[in-house]
């Protein structure tokens, strides 16, 4: 009814035509059905964890189709490798996935070490395991808070931050930073631990075990949360296989696939720990699995700190900043908090890398969202998105 258009007190010009979406909306709208609503969730939406954009086609509250749109946080990390020496590229790794930077450190440094045939001292291997597992715990804690926030509970994320800050305090002692850590060096780690690190870590393990009971009382047992998650977004092994999903999503589907045990690296084989699987392939299963993984990581940290061998933390002739990689190709993968973190490294023997391909687990994990979100309620789609544990910088790289 344009006849009501008698007053325009704020001088906002009225758009006469119907609004035409951008390239991706139009591209998506080509396949839209009759009488459906196309809705852009993001890139600035409270539940898309940064700058993910998801276009959904809604019929009422039900999602008919969904398509994630990436690229809002692309920073050309792979291209940057072609103009950086291996040494200069290590700090980039902390920026790829800010929640589990140590795993990316390990993937890059490990790939270079494999190519150059560098052996790492045993104490350094232990410290790598300790720092990586502590970092995995902090990543899972952050996910826990953010996931509950997606479901509408705002408070738990602040409780999770209490623990996360404790881990950051510990890791800051050796890495010097609280977020984008770069701790690993070719042939070892950058710094040895001090007494304070040992004391804080040993205090932290029983503390977190105690806190996990509170998590259970406040959130896990909560009837609202359980009914929001039970049976929502099942992702079976076949779906994971077709999309290349790894990590907690795959393990929740019942497959015991963990790079730490499948293709052993570091000194993981020296520790007794449980690789949890199941209990179910829905959102609740993934939720329970990640909490179980926190406990498994705590076991590893406890054992590693209990048997920390003496010795140097870096080999004597450690590569210096101008170090050149020998020519060759290698692929090295570690288990990140979100799945398999892989680095495909090709070197021509020059100063810089010839080509680095970063395999981000979140990239593959997100690609199955479109299929998993078909026909669910909008609120469930948000829950599924949250249960994938996305870190958009890692997806976009």
């Amino acid at each position: 009814m344009n006849s009501l258009n008698f007053i325009n007190p704020f001088g906002v010009s009225e758009d006469p035509g119907s609004y035409v979406g951008d390239f991706y909306t139009d591209n998506f709208a080509k396949g839209a059905g009759e009488g459906t609503l196309i809705l852009n969730l993001g890139p600035q939406h409270p539940s898309t964890h940064g700058v993910l954009r998801v276009i959904v086609e809604l019929e009422g509250e039900y999602v008919v189709r969904a398509e994630p749109v990436l690229g809002y946080l692309h920073r050309m990390h792979e291209k940057m490798a072609e103009v950086k020496t291996p040494w200069q590229y290590i700090p980039n790794m902390g920026r790829v996935d800010y929640l589990h930077p140590i795993a990316w450190n390990w993937a890059q440094v490990g790939a270079c070490e494999r190519l150059a045939g560098i052996e790492v001292p045993e104490r350094a291997e232990y410290l790598r395991v300790v720092s990586c597992e502590l970092n995995r715990i902090s990543s899972h804690l952050m996910w826990w808070g953010a996931f509950v926030m997606d479901l509408g509970g705002v408070t738990p994320i602040l409780y999770a931050f209490e623990e996360r800050e404790k881990i950051n305090d510990i890791l800051q002692i050796v890495t010097g930073s609280r977020l984008t850590m770069s701790y690993f060096r070719f042939g070892g780690v950058s710094a040895d631990v001090d007494d304070r690190f040992v004391r804080l870590t040993k205090e932290f393990v029983p503390y977190l075990r105690e806190r996990l009971k509170m998590y259970k009382a406040l959130v896990t047992d909560n009837v609202i949360l359980r009914r929001r998650l039970e049976g929502v977004g099942p992702m079976d092994a076949d779906l994971c296989r077709r999309h290349g999903a790894t990590g907690p999503i795959l393990r929740a589907a019942g497959l015991k696939r963990d790079t730490r045990t499948d293709a052993p690296y570091g000194v993981y084989h020296k520790f007794q720990y449980n690789v949890p699987t199941g209990p179910s392939d829905d959102c609740l299963g993934r939720y329970m699995l990640r909490l179980a993984e926190i406990e498994a990581s705590l076991d590893i940290v406890e054992q590693a700190m209990g048997s920390l061998p003496p010795g140097p933390v870096r080999i004597d002739k450690a590569p210096k900043a101008g170090w050149k990689l020998p020519a060759g190709e290698t692929y090295f993968a570690v288990e990140g908090a979100r799945g398999q973190v892989g680095v495909h490294l090709v070197s021509d023997g020059g100063k810089n890398h010839y080509r680095v391909k970063l395999r981000a687990p979140g990239f593959s994990n997100l690609s199955l969202f479109a299929e998993a979100a078909r026909g669910v309620l909008l609120a469930d789609a948000i829950a599924i998105l949250g249960s994938l544990d996305l870190v958009i910088p890692e997806v976009d790289r």
Partner: protein, 323 residues
Amino acid sequence: MDLSIANFAQIIIACLLVIALMVGNAVVMVYVERKACGFIQRRPGPYEVGPRGILQAVCDSMKLLGKQIYVPGNIDWILYFLAPVLAFFPVLLLYLPIPFGRHLTAMNVDEGILLILAFSGLGVVSNILAGWASNNKYGILGAARAVSQAVAYEIPMIMALLAIVFLTGSLSLTEIVERQGSWPWQWNIVVQPLAFFIYLVSLVGETNRAPFDLPEAESELTAGFHTEYSGMGFALFFLSEYANMLLVSFVCAAFFLGGYKGPFMDGFWWMFIKAYAVMVFIVWIRWTFPRVRFDQLLNINWRWLLPLSILNLWVTAVIVRFI
């Protein structure tokens, strides 16, 4: 009730007082909510403005007043600006029959609760207008949710209140309070615990508060029906949300918690203490629980609250009739 000059003046004064109460309540509740939320999350909440941040809410409202009103394109101008006003003003009327003392009522109507229930339905009209007029898909979804939620939760709410009305035999709030005693065991909550529980749940649903804040579910619909409102428009929605909360808390206090009667000395302060206790409880559950899903929200209502409230009503009717 004859509408003499004195009566008329009384209503005008009452209206002004109610406006003052609404604004004051919003200021207090913003502070209480942010402080409570802060303490639950183990942080201090606002503490920079004034001693212990007590002036924070004043600053917030100043900010809202001074903000540019940003209007999206292609809106329905009349409805867009009507919606916040429509959200705010009907609430004024609803306060008139609330008794703060035996004779301290703005308008002592015999059918007080009927008036409240009738006019509280207007609130949802403003929600749907806001969602529709602002030419926003999130708004439309939020408005659709608001309507089905409000329609659903009004029914068990009325049923729960009717049980008390059956017991008392009157629709007047003053009468209902008068029939209760001063001490907690003389209140209606003791004889009607189920009705109180049903009312408490539907109160949260009716005021769109977490965990039933589906119309403005932040993680799904950004802000639902008021996504496109800024400045004063948003402030009016905000004000009416808290005013609605206070109103249902007053009704809760009057119906179940003995109203202005309390131990040692009756008076309007008891009404306020009880109502604010209910509000703090609402705040508390907001910062504790995740949000329910929309179909679950309706399931809770249609499959549990409604049958329970009907059952409660029948049992009450039978007891009142035969015993």
